[in-house]
Amino acid sequence: MIRFDRVSVTYDGAASPVLRDVNLDIDEGELCLVIGHTGSGKSTLLGAVNGLVPHFTGGTLAGRVTVGGRDTARFRPRELADVAGGVGQDPQAGFVTDTVEEELAYTMEQLAVDPAAMRTRLEETLDLFGLAGLRQRALSALSGGQQQRVAIGAALTAHPRVLVLDEPTSALDPASAEDVLAAITRLVHDLGVTVMLAEHRLERVLPYADRAVYLPGDGTVTAGDPATVLARAQPGPPVAELGRLAGWEPLPLSVRDARRRAPALRARLPDPPPVVHHVSRNRPGASPAVDARGIVVRYGSLVAVRGASLALYPGEVTALMGRNGSGKSSLLWAIQGTGQRAAGTVQAGGTQAGGARPEGAQPEGAQPGGPATGGARADPAALAPAAARRLVGLVPQTPADLLYLDTVDAELSQADKDGRPGAGAGGAAGGAADGTPGDAAGARADGAPGGSRPSREILDEIAPGIRPDAHPRDLSAGQQLALVLAIQLTAAPAAILLDEPTRGLDYQAKAGLTAALDRLAGRGHAIAVATHDVEFAARSCDRVVVMAEGEIITDGPAAAVLTASPTFAPQVAKILAPLPYLTVPQIAAALGPVAAR
């Protein structure tokens, strides 16, 4: 169905090709999973299938790509629309019309499908994707999962034989992602559509894949049976990592596979686990860095947060979980003080435990760059923005919103300027600026301006190797996140909040983020992360807070919360239940050096 014959793609101005001599043959009706890090050429490979590479993106394509017998070099994307449909990561960006029905009909209208046939196909598609009740809804009023289903449905109404999906679930919460994946598998099973799918969170898709294509990042491509390909792809989903650790052949792809082989492993594992899933940097007895009580956020008649109380402690990493729209973001923004808050109090700032532990006595507390200690506590909402960010820093869902300069270096030096106490437009205007932690930190003995290290140093620690002259917009999602995190850390806030940082990150970037958060916790920052990613929460967090309908419904140690419910259980916990293991490294440590391979 899809054939790559010695294909190389080189973008204009690039030194080396993104794809090099790729030979690939994908049969009809296969679900083909494309695996690889960010920047390894996944999108290029997918774009080459529906002709967007090189017709739309530019660059040079050598070799030959044929889809359903048509050579993409000779047919432009619009002329391939009836054989290959494509859907991107952000469905909303591709919507041309504004109601569900019209959007589904759009492709067919372009292809001049007969009106009667159009009507039948549209009704079928509505049923296939469970959209019948939404047919006249405005697209902007749909949830992310519904939008993605509409986008896939709209590509499908043209009856393409190939469907190319570039990270269709990366922006969705687990439940919506399941809906979309269920719709995709239905396509493959019932309709025989060939689907090429790129996805970061392999654990969701892997069980359904017929074939995997792995791009290691050097331009080459390995294709084959998912289990065999996965054995070479590092790092993989936890189930594969566990299989590798336990030496299972072939690698299990689903929790079900793994669980059937798990009894022997379970027998060898001690209960309780000898090491915890995540080493807590929490200091007992410390007073909270952020103490929010009875927070209410409402937008008109919609109550986003209903009286939630949350205390964040220095050195503790807290995961904030819950489905889309459960109020996670609103709570974080309200705590930071920039978001609106209808009721409730927030006290944030210097940890009062300072008296009990003199500077320098703590192994890590006195490191420069840690949060300012001993300052007065204040409500960040009552301060000017420049002062509020010294108490609580927030990394928004789209970190790029904060970046406006031309190079990474310019952003960093701007951040250093802003990070100095009294700097920034609002710094002097802060009514309660006297006695803020920033001032207190300035008086500290370490001599660094504002107690903050140069942002370049912070960035190199979080994500080494970002070129100073790179344009911030050219960085990968993970690098942008690191850059914004570094910028926010120059203010040395007592608490750092991250809103959905794992969106669109690959395994490598996520591991990097985990390490960075761990180091920050070690420096005494209180950290809260809103996330849908259970595996990330299991690896990085000490405590899990679950929200639903604006209320906090669960708040407890990660090990307890994550093993207690199937929805929030990581794969390892599902495989090894009832043993309370959460992560693969934990098992590796438990098995000891002998058992590890």
Partner: protein, 426 residues
């Protein structure tokens, strides 16, 4: 794809009992064969009336309104508009705007009267003077306009009537906008102008996204400690927003390309050139025609001829251009007898008021001298009432899109089974 089991098949229009015809009142010939009776019935099932029908109806009423300054007739037109809008508007966002048109109409009248009161226009000997405003002295070179002075009832009334007529036209447009989905109206554009419709649709959806983007970035800027004003803030907000907009438009363009937008049909270079030539010629003809019709010096023949030739050329270009566009239309609005009835009911009032036959034409524009209660001419009044039949002739609008369907029953949420763990919270 094969239809899933249990698929009921294309929706078929079910004919309602013939009794409904009686209530339609528009056409009721008794010996109608059952087939056409069914067709009549299915035409009135709840659906959106063809947008062009509403526009023609509104334009006809506007024509009627422009012919008269009889307050009774104008009031009747207002009443008809209000009645039809209330009966046949949908729940859609664009249909909630009639109130604003009414407000705008009221403003027009108020402004008109205020100007007439402030700028004196002279009082005739027999006028009823209401009050006098202090007169502002104006310099000699400005003597054409006088500010302040005596205000007569006649002047105020004529201002009210003038304003009311303008307000009536405004409300006609408002009614058309309220009753017809503006985007569906764009869909009736000929194939060659399809791109225009797409551009408008995309622009309409981009505007709110841009606003959202600006709000998001402004909010995010506070996170870096920046304020919302000044040149630095402008850059910090504009750069991410523009990046965002540019990326989004590129993705939209890619998506549209991948979905077959702009697939060209079998068009040769010659036919494309011919289309362009026809279009240019047609536009030139229209310009010439407009000049001839409006300019005093040109003979009337040049105007009419140029206009006709220009229109014909443009039409030819559209047809030719439309032929090479191979595209079909999803669920085009049908044009059935209710559309004819609606257009006809409007046309009756326009024709009766324009012809001025069968009644005293002077009754359309009653004189304010001497001041008297205006007479209501019977035929025009009846004609305007006929326009109200549109409310009955048009099928009821479909149920609003906001109505939750069975699919939208709240999905059982994945509630974590963990109750508050004892000792878990601090």
């Amino acid at each position: 794809m094969s239809p899933p089991a249990g698929w009921p098949g294309p929706l078929r229009a079910v004919s309602p009992p013939a009794v409904r015809l009686a209530s339609a009142g528009a056409v009721s010939p008794p010996p109608v064969p059952p087939n056409s009776l069914r067709a009549l019935g299915s035409g009135r099932l709840p659906r959106a009336l063809h947008p062009v029908a509403w526009w023609l109806w509104a334009i006809a009423l506007a024509t009627a309104a422009s012919r008269t300054s009889n307050p009774l007739l104008l009031l009747m037109i207002f009443a008809v508009l209000g009645f039809v809008v209330t009966m046949r508007r949908t729940e859609a966002p664009w249909a909630r705007g009639y109130r604003f048109y009414l407000l705008m109409a009221l403003t027009v009248i108020v402004i008109r009267v205020a100007f007439r009161v402030v700028f004196e226009t002279g009082v005739n000997p027999g006028d009823h003077v209401l009050f006098a405003l202090p007169r502002l002295p104006t310099p000699g070179w400005y003597s054409g306009v006088q500010i302040g002075g005596r205000v007569s009832l006649e002047a105020v009334l004529s201002a009210v009537l003038d304003g009311a007529r303008l307000a009536c036209l405004l409300c006609c447009i408002g009614a058309a906008n309220t009753l017809a989905n503006p985007k569906r109206a764009l869909r009736v554009l000929p194939g060659a102008l399809y791109e225009l419709g797409t551009a408008v649709t995309v622009a309409l959806s981009v505007a709110p996204q841009l606003v959202e983007s600006v709000q998001r970035v402004r909010r995010a800027r506070r996170l870096r400690g920046g304020g919302g004003r000044g040149p630095r803030a402008l850059r910090a907000i504009a750069v991410p927003v523009l990046h965002d907009a540019l990326e989004r438009s590129l993705r939209l363009a890619a998506a549209m390309d991948a979905r077959g937008y702009g697939r060209t049909g079998p068009a040769t270079r010659a036919s494309r050139r011919l289309t362009a030539l026809l279009m240019l010629g047609g536009l030139a003809g229209l310009c010439l025609g407009a000049y001839g019709l409006l300019g005093a010096g040109a003979p009337a023949g040049v105007g009419l001829g140029g206009f006709a030739a220009g229109a014909a050329l443009c039409l030819g270009a559209l047809v030719l251009g439309g032929r090479r566009v191979s595209r079909s239309r999803y669920r085009p609005d049908p044009w059935r007898w209710p559309e004819w009835a609606v257009v006809g009911s409007g046309a009756v009032s326009a024709i009766v008021l324009s012809l001025g036959a069968g009644y005293d034409p002077a009754a359309l524009n009653p004189s304010l001298y001497p001041l008297s209660w205006p007479a209501l001419p019977v035929l025009p009044a009846l004609a305007i009432l006929v326009a109200a039949l549109a409310a009955v002739a048009a099928p009821p609008p479909p149920a609003g899109p906001g109505r939750p369907g069975p699919e939208e029953a709240p999905v059982p949420a994945p509630q974590p089974a963990v109750a508050a763990l004892p000792g878990a919270t601090r």
